[in-house]
């Protein structure tokens, strides 16, 4: 597979999307978890330190003059005693400063912020040996002497919390990476299993191509069923069309062979000098039989074409442009007769009128409308009216109506049914094969429409055509 081909493959897309989504999700989870852990560790640390501060505060003793007595009671935590242990206290009084043994020779530098009674302040500060300390302090005074206050501070090295956060971070990165890897590995079989129906579709197509089956066979998942069903329908239709085409070729051959047989028989008879074989009679016979063969050919061609393309899904032909083109042809061809052709069809610009799209082949529509229009123009005295409109939706789906009227002689009611059948011509004096209306009637029937002949208000023939339309 080429690089571009691989990049556009479904497998690659699915895998890439999975990896991307998992990476983003795990990254977000990692950030959230480590943030939450850090916050929690710091909260715990501060709570423990606050307990230390409370313990220290409660062990303070004042004399009757309201002065703080030196710390004599030993606090339980041994770290207060070990130099630079990382846990310190300091009491700043008006006259003197008391410090924990652990501070040794160092001093806690406290910011000069005013402290109200009972309030606890927390701040970061530099400690001995370059340690970063979290300092909690509060102001304390003897019960009867509110004026002389002491600042009581405890401090602890935050290095241990930072280390814990770092350790947690690296464990998190490792475990999430391992998880990502596992999930991606799990995605491979998923994609493989998920796409397996496509491979069986490919296999089914191959069998079809090699002629080992007549349709797409196999158990396909629900998502593929519309595709395979449609494909099988197209195949079936194709097979039907082929069968019909063969049958029509047979019919055509038979229809043409008959006049040929008549002609060859005539040649045999003329050689034997039978009656009715004068040159003039022969010429007439040849003319008749050739015309007959031509009619058959036209007829079968029209049928074959319409049957072949009939009602394939998704065919759409806008009616207005087709009519306009045909009217241009008629106007040019009948230019000498000053024929007035009035066309009334919602134009192509009028896209809201979706009903004026014929649900079928353009050639068929042109064939139907062209023949009718040609007929109308041939017989009209002065004017031809063409009207097209969408009909309100019925149960049968959308329909459109095309009405073509002329002011010619019209067709007598008794003849109307006859002219719709093959080869019947109402007037033999005007050129034509006598097939036009019959072909139109046939095409209309194939499309499930209807064709009606009537008397026009203009005086001549009125033809009304109902055809399926695209909504």
């Amino acid at each position: 597979m080429t690089r571009a081909g691989w990049a556009s493959s479904l497998r690659f897309r699915l895998l890439a999307a999975t990896v991307l989504a998992l990476s983003v999700a795990l990254l977000l989870a990692g950030l959230l978890l480590s943030g939450f852990f850090k916050q929690e560790v710091e909260r715990q640390f501060e709570a423990t330190l606050r307990q230390q501060l409370d313990q220290l505060t409660s062990s303070l003793e004042f004399n009757t003059a309201g002065e703080l007595l030196p710390m004599v009671r030993t606090l339980p935590d041994p770290r207060w005693q070990r130099p630079y242990s990382g846990l310190y206290w300091q009491i700043d009084g008006p006259e003197n400063v008391q410090r924990s043994r652990s501070l040794w020779d160092a001093v806690l530098t406290l910011p000069a912020d005013p402290l109200s009674d009972g309030q606890v302040h927390a701040h970061q500060s530099a400690g001995p040996q370059g340690a970063r300390l979290l300092v909690l302090e509060r102001s304390v005074h003897a019960p009867e002497f509110p004026a002389s206050a002491w600042r009581v501070a405890v401090a602890a090295d935050t290095r241990s919390t930072q280390d814990a956060v770092k350790r947690f971070g690296s464990v998190l990165v490792f475990s999430l990476s391992a998880l990502l890897l596992l999930l991606v590995l799990a995605a491979f079989p998923q994609v493989y299993v998920g796409l397996r129906p496509l491979r069986s579709l490919e296999q089914a197509l191959k069998e079809l191509r090699e002629g080992r089956s007549q349709a797409l066979q196999g158990n396909f998942p629900q998502e593929l069923l519309p595709l395979t069903n449609d494909f099988n329908r197209v195949l079936e239709r194709q097979a039907q069309t082929l069968a019909r085409a063969r049958q029509q070729a047979g019919n055509l051959a038979h229809a043409v062979k008959t006049p040929l047989a008549v002609l060859s028989q005539a040649v045999v008879q003329s050689q034997t000098g039978s009656a009715g074989t004068s040159p003039a009679q022969l010429a007439q016979l040849v003319n008749e039989q050739v015309a007959l063969a031509n009619r058959h050919i036209d007829w079968h061609l029209a049928r074959a074409r319409s049957a072949g393309a009939h009602r394939l899904p998704g065919q759409r032909t806008p009616v207005a442009p087709a009519l306009a083109g045909l009217v241009r042809v008629m106007q040019r061809v009948h230019a000498a007769r000053e024929l007035h052709i009035e066309l009334d069809a919602p134009g192509p610009a009028d896209t809201t009128d979706a009903g004026l799209v014929f649900a079928g082949e353009e050639q068929d529509l042109q064939e139907m409308l062209g023949n009718l229009l040609d007929n109308a123009c041939k017989w009209a005295r002065h004017s031809v009216h063409v009207h097209a409109q969408a009909l309100p939706r019925s149960n049968a789906g959308g329909q459109l109506l095309v009405r073509i009227e002329d002011d010619g002689a019209g067709i007598d009611e008794s003849l109307r049914l006859q002219v719709l059948s093959r080869g019947v011509r109402a007037d033999e004096s005007v050129p034509g094969s006598g097939l036009g209306l019959a072909i139109v009637a046939d095409l209309v029937a194939l499309y499930g429409g209807s064709l009606q002949l009537g008397q026009s208000a203009l005086g001549g023939l009125k033809v009304e055509l109902l055809l399926p339309s695209v909504q």
Partner: protein, 220 residues
């Protein structure tokens, strides 16, 4: 009247040429689109019969080139089967009429006569000039109701003039329109034909415009 037949099927082309020649036209034949296009560009034709399915260059393209180059002779297109989209396309690029194969030769001749008349702005198939009448359908000429016997070349000269009453037609133009391309032309013979025509009808009908040509003058 000179006509170009652009049809690639040799038998049909030969039949068309024969029928048109019989009907009194000077006929040139082109068997492919390129040749037809060239002929139509350099020769003066009174009408063209153009098959749309020509090899090398299709009929629609040929017609488009002619019309694009300002050639306005009437063109009758031949379409195979009932291909309406071909007819629409043909008419849209400037064809004047269409005929569906197979056709009857009489119908083609009738359509062609009508096209040539229409191109000259004449409505009736019968042309008249004073007492002189020319029926384009039957190629018969009569004077005051009496038939006039004309040779084929005399008829061609008279028909060309009668399609253009009151217009001065040069000898060269007459030569171009009454002879096919591969015919050995001699414009002096035109004088001979005009002279013979004058003997068979009122001589003042065909006026000689010195240095320019001839003009058909209907009697006042």
């Amino acid at each position: 009247m000179r006509v170009l037949v652009a049809e690639d099927e040799p038998t049909l082309s030969a039949q068309l040429c024969a029928a048109l020649t019989d009907a009194g036209y000077a006929v040139d034949a082109a068997l492919n689109g390129r040749e037809a296009c060239y002929q139509g560009e350099v020769q003066a034709y009174d009408a063209v019969v153009l098959d749309l399915g020509l090899p090398e260059l299709d009929g629609i393209s040929v017609l488009k080139r002619w019309r694009g180059g300002g050639r306005s002779m009437p063109v009758l297109i031949l379409t195979a089967r009932d291909q309406w989209h071909e007819k629409v396309a043909g008419i849209d690029v400037g064809a004047d009429d269409y005929l569906t194969k197979p056709f009857h030769m009489e119908e083609l001749l009738a359509r062609l006569r009508a096209l040539i008349r229409r191109a000259q702005g004449l409505a009736s198939p019968t042309l008249t000039c004073g007492e002189l009448t020319l029926d384009t359908r039957s190629s018969r000429v009569s004077l005051a109701g009496m038939p006039v016997n004309l040779t084929s070349h005399e008829y061609k000269v008279l028909a060309y003039l009668m399609h253009r009453p009151n217009v001065v037609v040069s000898r060269t133009e007459l030569t171009e329109h009454i002879y096919a391309q591969d015919f050995d032309r001699d414009s002096n013979t035109i004088e001979v034909f005009v002279g013979r025509l004058r003997k068979k009808m009122p001589p003042e009908l065909i006026e000689t415009v010195r240095g320019m040509g001839y003009r058909l003058v209907p009697p006042a």
